[in-house]
Symmetry: C2
């Protein structure tokens, strides 16, 4: 189906297929060039179709955030899934293991506490399902993960190795604080520190007599900023499929690399602002990952069919966006493409991607895992 | 079904039925005492069940934000609906009018431009469906609405009166800037100013020979702070069914009046923060309506079954919340109830309310209009 941007009902989540495919290939090439496994985080897109494209391009499997999200991708036929979240609830874990067993999915879970090992160990034993369990290491975000300066990683690895049906799967980290870095060099410094910390933890576990089969790091900035990876076997970027203004603000990409935009219509005008039909229920109020506020607006609005440098979306109410027009208000009815600050929460609010390519070909792709926050 | 808060799977959107019913009754009493029509804004709850409770308590109809939201409530049997949004797209308008005609719904739309009158007038004529059209007035939020100091209100009212199938339905405003007021007195001042502006606009239209059948104002703060209403025939509060920390911060309510909380589980702990399984994809990154940032955290976390004064949710990533525990970390697995800053975007992210009452009775209510942003 062919479509013109002036006929799509708004607000719409536009996905530029050409840029999407280029971004997927770029990550696959980067992983291959450095001999790394690529395991993309699909919480960014929540789409089985895009996950299959990533696997077809060479990804070893995927990463998900929550057990309910994992369930969607198990049913979607992805064969190797890491749930990068410290699951501790026996009901959730049992349901997940049951489904993975039924579908023959290889499942990798993470822990940072004995509570987690107990819960997952109990479920794996009761379900008679072999599960890989990785130890989450805090490399500076101070969210989840064991303190790398202590013995917790070794203690948990040993606990895992001693439980029936559990295999110690290695160590895993997320340097999300890279999103608050001042520039690309600062991102590289955080990535280097992550690699060093993970090497030390791996050495510590190995010295205690255990094999560390995987050292997994991830975040789009740290992966994109690095030109070499030490002590790393796997990378888990997520946002790279779309990219957004936060990645651009870190100096990692340009606007031409951004695959996802929001198509909106001007519904009202006043002296200072064009009011558009996309507010916080479409763009989200998220100015950046991990609560980062390095960007002060909520996106950049470009009139469709122009190379306008963009007008900032300076404020949002739930159903309206305020675009500062600088004295030249677009007409009521005009279409604007909004480059979002943070693509992931925008996708989470939507139900489908309107996929377009450079020839105007149009497809609708469902956001299969929308609402999977459990 | 009876349920205990330690057995509900998290994250969950808890709705306290007792408080909900009290809030619904309070607004109905207030409207009745002042001889006003109450037309609640249902974008706050997106629930047909709650809309029916509001109508049963005396509401004359409801307000919705978008045409796709209106469609859900037309199908849900609500007989009188105002779409408080400047619709300008002929496709959207025609589809909406067709559905309203089919269901015999009384439909009130709003305009602030000739583009809007043309589009709605064309659809009403072509569908042969009588539609009430109200003129939106900007009373200080500077979002949508005509400038009250000019002649636009009269011009648009006359355009409406001259179109077949359109009836001039009156004037409508939203003093959303009250959310950024410093205190209750400042909210009252904004409400007074709104009433004065609306009186002047109504007088202006009446002087031009047209009847102004309805003067509609709304926002929970301005409605709650007022003890008298002048020149007003209708109020349209929305958030009042739930209330939240923003309303408390304006001095309008206390925490005991808040009907909606998020139940979350502690999944990890570190020296400074308890990490919970509710992040921006559950709590939203919204710190308050209309981009207001008067509150600096993202909610207040109270351990279940305690009268703890609450710990602030100081930061969010997509799937995790950071609760500052002040040196006394809850245990992994503990349940916390989060009082959200702004209830409306939290509801928009969810699929169902877990409705509880003081006896522990439990029901699941769908959020019928989730995702209706078109």
């Amino acid at each position: 189906m062919m479509v013109r941007l002036d006929t799509i009902e708004t607000p719409a989540i536009l996905l530029d297929r050409t840029v999407l495919e280029r971004n997927i290939a770029a990550a696959a090439d980067r992983a291959a060039a450095h001999g790394l496994q690529l395991r993309p985080h699909v919480k960014s897109h929540k789409s089985v179709a895009i996950a299959r494209m990533q696997v077809a391009a060479g990804a070893c499997g995927i990463t998900v955030a929550k057990s309910s999200e994992a369930e969607v991708f198990i049913r979607g036929g992805i064969a190797d899934i890491t749930v990068a979240y410290p699951l501790i609830d026996l009901t959730k874990i049992t349901r997940l293991l049951m489904l993975a067993k039924e579908h023959g999915t290889r499942l990798n879970l993470i822990v940072d506490s004995a509570v987690g090992v107990d819960a997952i160990g109990t479920a794996a034993r009761d379900m008679a399902f072999e599960t890989n369990l990785m130890v989450k290491v805090d490399v500076g975000l101070h969210r989840c993960g064991v303190d790398p300066s202590g013995d917790d990683a070794v203690t948990l690895a040993r606990m895992i190795a001693n439980r029936a049906r559990l295999t110690f799967g290695g160590i895993i980290s997320h340097a999300g604080h890279a999103y608050s870095a001042v520039d690309r060099d600062a991102v590289v410094a955080i990535a280097r520190e992550e690699q060093t910390i993970m090497r030390d933890v791996a050495d510590h576990i190995a010295a205690a007599g255990m094999l560390v089969p995987c050292t997994s790091v991830g975040s789009t900035p740290t992966v994109w900023a690095c030109d070499h990876y030490e002590n790393t076997t796997e990378i888990r970027p997520g946002n790279y499929v779309f990219m957004d203004l936060v990645q651009a603000s870190l100096g990692l990409i340009t606007k031409a690399d951004i695959a996802l935009t929001v198509l909106a219509t001007v519904v009202s005008c006043n002296d200072t602002h064009a009011i558009i039909d996309a507010g916080s229920k479409v763009l989200s109020s998220d100015r950046g990952p991990h609560g980062s506020t390095r960007l002060t607006s909520y996106g950049l609005a470009v009139p469709v069919g122009t190379d306008h440098p963009g007008m900032p979306v300076v404020s949002l109410s739930e159903e309206h966006g305020f675009v500062a027009h600088g004295g030249q208000c677009p007409a009521i009815g005009d279409r604007l493409r909004i480059y979002p600050n943070h693509a992931c929460p925008v996708v989470n609010l939507a139900r489908a991607f309107q996929v377009i390519d450079e020839n105007g070909k149009f497809e609708l792709w469902p956001i299969d895992a929308h609402g999977t926050v459990f």
